[in-house]
């Protein structure tokens, strides 16, 4: 070491100081993130918004090659697949008949009841650009953002089932937190028993159901749909089917195809109307004649 003393004497301390400042700056950023998370997350969304779409040219060949390999593997199993598909098709034909009959019946009943299904539930479709890049975070980036009117919290579906919710919106991109993420909690209803539960992501493909009132009423194979409780999501979006996990917990086999998320629909969920006044019709406060107020009070109590 002695031979370098002269050359390192003046470089060393300055360098150490600069490295110290660098580390402090990074830790400072982390602390700011911890204290004021939304602001830094907005910065993160903006940064990703700028950087990631420009990675397109690099990602296209990678995903292309991966698809090529996947296709090649599926060519090898072509005949087996063909048989499977035939069998499935037969089943589907039977289902199609059933579905047609049910559709007619449903249309008739809806007409009789004069029901209007929610007409405001339109959607924007986006393409998945990247996934989260980390094995501990389950989220994807789609190429629609604030520019397209996307708002935090909107539900996202693939063609069939619920995929996740918007968590973080940039100008041209937005992040979809998948149902399998550890911080995802969705209120659901289990049909046909009507039990309410919370679908809690735990970084596995089949998230467990939590806060079930009566697990005996639920059978594997029951449909799970979003319940619309708490104004988180609109009601009746298909989530998946109940399945019994190997750990004897009730889990949900998600209807969305997580293996191939390519196009995602972001549903424009209208904001829920809040009821703030105590209900003027039930408790009229002016000009009573006779015993009416007592009745009104009793009604309110009862």
């Amino acid at each position: 070491m002695a031979r370098d003393k002269n050359s390192e004497d003046y470089v060393g301390p300055i360098r150490r100081l600069l490295v110290g400042v660098l580390v402090l700056a990074l830790l400072g950023l982390f602390l700011i993130w911890r204290i004021d998370s939304p602001r830094v997350e907005r910065f993160r969304a903006a940064a990703i918004d700028k950087v990631v779409p420009s990675f397109d040219w690099a990602m296209a060949p990678v995903s292309g090659i991966a698809n090529l390999i996947g296709n090649f593997q599926s060519y090898q199993q072509l005949s087996a697949q063909n048989q499977d598909l035939r069998r499935e098709l037969q089943q589907m034909k039977a289902w199609k008949e059933a579905a047609l009959q049910l559709e007619q019946e449903n249309a008739k009943l809806l007409g009789l009841n004069n029901v209007r299904l929610d007409p405001q539930l339109t959607y924007v479709t986006g393409v998945v650009i990247t996934d989260s890049g980390s094995p501990f975070r389950q989220s994807v980036l789609v190429n629609v953002g604030a520019r397209d009117g996307i708002i935090d919290g909107w539900p996202t579906m693939d063609g069939i089932g619920l995929v996740g919710r918007i968590a973080g919106v940039g100008q041209g991109t937005s992040r979809v937190m998948l149902l399998s993420d550890t911080s995802s909690r969705i209120p659901v209803t289990i049909q046909p028993s009507g039990q309410k539960a919370i679908l809690a992501g735990d970084n596995t493909l089949n998230p467990p159901l939590e806060f079930l009132e009566n697990a005996d009423l639920i059978r594997p194979g029951d449909r799970v749909v979003s319940s619309g409780d708490g104004g988180v999501f609109p009601a009746d979006l298909l989530v998946g089917q109940v399945a019994l996990g190997t750990d004897q917990r009730l889990r949900v086999r998600l209807a969305a195809d997580y293996q191939r998320l390519e196009f995602l629909r972001v549903l424009r969920a209208p904001p829920h109307e809040e009821i703030n006044d105590p209900g003027g019709l039930l408790t009229p406060e002016t000009e009573f004649i006779g015993p009416a107020p007592i009745n009104a009070l009793e009604m309110a109590d009862g």
């Binding site: 031979r3 370098d4 050359s7 600069l18 490295v19 660098l22 580390v23 990074l26 830790l27 400072g28 950023l29 982390f30 993130w33 911890r34 830094v40 993160r44 940064a47 990703i48 950087v51 990631v52 990675f55 690099a58 990602m59 990678v62 995903s63 991966a66 998945v128 650009i129 990247t130 996934d131 989260s132 890049g133 980390s134 094995p135 501990f136 975070r137 389950q138 989220s139 994807v140 992040r175 998948l178 399998s180 550890t182 911080s183 970084n203 596995t204 493909l205 997580y258 293996q259 191939r260 998320l261």
Partner: protein, 179 residues
């Protein structure tokens, strides 16, 4: 040594940036959105450590900080913490680079493994103290072990494909100092 040392250093920095870019893109490509059963090793960390242990002059500290801060932002990690820990670790390795140069590979591997374990634990402890939601412990440990296991492979690739080997005796840097 056909090229001037300064040119070689810049070429090698370019190679590192390109490799980091490739690793980041490969991690981001949306191929399968199912949660993985086995988290993949943190190749970028192994790569950085191999570079720093072998040729610290190829990898200035600001480059490391920039690359890891970018991945913090892109991979939805708490921004700054992991980057700071990696900078601290690489600085520690950098000051010992002379010692590491004379070690057999097994000893070097052990030193690096100790460092990886230290920053992984530090990361978890800091996150726990600040009550930040964390990844499951099992997955983190598996990733840590895989990262340690992949280190010799990275060293091998760095040595034979990118020529990042321990400096020979008496080699000098751009300013004529011995490294």
């Amino acid at each position: 040594m056909a090229k001037a040392p300064a040119t070689r250093i810049w070429i090698n920095r370019g190679v590192f940036i390109a490799l980091a870019f490739v690793i980041i893109v490969l991690q981001l490509v949306p191929l399968d959105m199912r949660p993985p059963r086995w988290p993949p090793p943190d190749v970028l960390l192994a790569l950085t450590l191999a570079w720093v242990a072998r040729r610290p002059d190829y990898l200035p500290v600001y480059l490391i900080a920039a690359v890891f801060l970018t991945t913090d932002l892109l991979f939805q990690r708490p921004p700054g913490l992991w980057a700071a820990l990696v900078v601290i670790l690489t600085e520690t390795v950098r000051t010992r680079a002379r010692g590491i140069r004379n070690m057999p590979l097994a000893l070097e591997w052990g030193t690096i493994a100790f460092g990886i374990v230290a920053i992984t634990l530090a990361n978890r402890i800091v996150l726990a103290i600040l009550m930040t939601p964390q990844a499951p412990l099992g997955l983190t440990l598996i990733q840590m072990i895989l990262t340690i296991l992949i280190y010799p492979l990275v060293v091998f690739v760095a040595h034979y494909m990118f020529g990042v080997s321990r400096p020979a005796l008496g080699e000098i840097d751009a300013r004529g100092r011995r490294i």
